[in-house]
């Protein structure tokens, strides 16, 4: 009797569970299986073909002694910090401005979101031209009369990563703005009315009431931006191919180059395992805070 009243939770929504089995299996086999396989083979000296010939941590020692990998990590940190801060701040500001019930909102939204419709390869090529000293911004400004004006970030080793960041921000900020705008629209009108009645200035309302209420949107945005940072590859390939020299290399490109050009799978796997590890270090504490404490 009691059984029929309280069914086994395992069999609740049975249809949905059965339907999701293929996806679960795919995820297990492809994602988890692939990850385990990659990590396992990163401890081998596999060259062109995977071979189970274990060499311990040799690939990792070599990785961390390689100047190109260290430069890649440094670039990723700079690029990550810039993307994170600027796309959040600029995206939110644009969204807040659009939220002021302005005229032609749709037009502005379209304009800001348009770059996102372009792939990173196209974005990279466009900005390669814009930042080229002989054709782009520098050429135009010099043509206007400022002869000594110099702006060639892609040809200067020490600032090339900023040149790449500019292109990334131009491409990605529109999407962040739209996400933020959706979040802002989700805030109840009554909150605004109440704040106005209490005489709280607008910037304070945003900062202390609206932003804390938009927490889920911020988290979604953060995940999107962060995953975009770690996997950045095509933008660099299109804009500089890692140059000048190796000044704008990024980890994902290191992985690709060593797996396929250098025919050294072990080294590529070691590098990709380090990338995974860095993501895990960021995600796990956050997931723990986010999902763990609800219990």
């Amino acid at each position: 009797m009691s059984k029929s009243e309280r069914p086994n939770p395992l069999f609740r929504n049975l249809n949905a569970k059965v339907a999701s089995i293929p996806m679960i299996l795919t995820a297990m086999a492809v994602f988890v299986g692939g990850t385990v396989w990659t990590v396992l083979y990163s401890f081998t000296n596999s060259k062109l073909l995977p071979r189970l010939n274990f060499v311990g941590l040799d690939q990792y020692y070599r990785l961390w002694a390689t100047p190109r990998w260290l430069i890649s990590i440094e670039n990723l940190l700079i690029y990550g910090a810039i993307s994170l801060v600027f796309s959040l701040v600029v995206g939110f500001l644009l969204a807040a401005l659009l939220d002021q019930k302005i005229r032609f909102e749709d037009t502005f939204r379209t304009i800001f979101l348009y770059p996102f419709a372009l792939s990173f390869i196209v974005t990279g090529l466009v900005w390669q031209w814009l930042l080229n000293p002989d054709f782009g911004i520098q050429h135009v400004v010099r043509g206007l009369g400022w002869e000594s004006f110099s702006f060639d970030p892609l040809y200067n080793s020490s600032i090339v990563i900023y040149g790449i960041s500019i292109a990334a921000l131009w491409q990605g900020t529109g999407l962040i703005m739209c996400l933020m705008l959706a979040g802002l629209r989700g805030i109840d009108e009554d909150i605004w009315k109440a704040a106005r009645v209490d005489g709280i200035p607008m910037w304070k309302t945003y900062l202390f009431i609206v932003i804390p209420m938009m927490r889920p949107v911020f988290i979604t945005t953060l995940v999107i931006i962060a995953s975009g940072i770690v996997k950045v590859y095509d933008l660099v390939v299109a804009q500089t191919s890692g140059g000048p020299g190796i000044a704008s290399e990024v980890p994902a490109k290191y992985v690709y180059d060593y797996m396929f050009f250098a025919q050294n799978l072990g080294q590529g796997f070691a590098a990709s395992t380090m990338m995974l590890l860095s993501v895990v270090i960021v995600i796990v504490p956050w997931a723990y805070l986010e999902f763990g404490r609800r219990k």
């Binding site: 062109l48 073909l49 390689t66 890692g242 000048p244 190796i246 000044a247 396929f260 050009f261």
Partner: protein
Amino acid sequence: MRYKLLTAALAATAALQFAGPAAATDLEVTHWWTSGGEAAAVAELAKAFDATGNHWVDGAIAGSGGTARPIMISRITGGDPMGATQFNHGRQAEELVQAGLMRDLTDVATKGKWTEVVRPKSLLDSCTIDGKIYCVPVNIHSWQWLWLSNEAFEKAGVPLPKDWNEFVAAAPALEKAGIIPLAVGGQAWQSSGAFDVLLAAVGGTDTFLKVYKDKDATFAAGPEVAKVFKAADDARKMAKNTNVQDWNQATNLVITGKAGGQIMGDWAQGEFQVAGKTAGKDYTCLPGLGLNEVIATGGDAFYFPLLKDADKSKAQEVLAETLLDPKTQVAFNLKKGSLPVRGDVDLNAANDCMKKGLAILAKGAVIPWTDQLLSQDTQKQKEDLFAEFFAKPDLTVEEAQKRFAALIASAD
């Protein structure tokens, strides 16, 4: 009755299918020859193969070898092999051979007496693994050339240099005339290749072999190689204003007289030809940078993946024979601008620079190239080092040499 009819019909279709390809077998051949001159050269190969009654299915992959090789390798390892594929002979396909994915051509080679006709011998050696022959070399491409623009030197008012040292001495005059002394494109393989050429030219053949063949790290850290790094330092200073990426754009700077010279392989010759320039009058070539006249025997070869289809395997043999045929060799290499792999062919139509190369080859002044001596892994690390060295003036010569020696110590 009905059953019998059906079997007969089936048998007939099967027979038809079988008979079809036997008459003219389609063989897909992948390669990365896509520029104008290269495509014309490949067309010669295709023509020769089609003349044998088979059919050449062209599988050109755009981009350089670096782009094409991963695609070829993943097709072979992924169980979708092509009929034949280009690689640079040497160690690029070594592991594919060891894994048993490539076809042993020893029988064809014995029949065609390859060991007697292929010159220099080192070409066939790099096709040989454990005493068996796995590839057909089709041409020799050498890196050891300095291409000079006669116009640029005239404009700067200095005599045309006869070797690298005179070229370095002429650099200030060129710079004063607003000419980039040395054009080196931004792609990593260009700076790394230029260094290897300097190693063989400034350091000499023994130095080159001691570093890349014996992989003597102590020697690589020593004074002989330091001299080469000094020359590389000169080169990067002379090249610092080159704002181009691709090798042919850099060659174009020399063609138009905007740059004094370029260290580049003999494939650059095709660019001069397309631009309508004459060797000796508009441009000058110095093999071995005028210091050490040697030619490295890098180049292209065709490998044949192991196939299950008997007809296709037969066609592979025909293709292998066709590639080494004297007539094909001449037609192909004249279009490609490279040197033929047999010594018994007639190359009267060759231009001045090609003739210089042939003379050096006849003297036997050849060295193996890095594709034959080093693994792709080591090559890539070397590229990373020299890309950084050429782009970053504050990377000192001493530091670079230390890193180079460490690289040689771990090289394979």
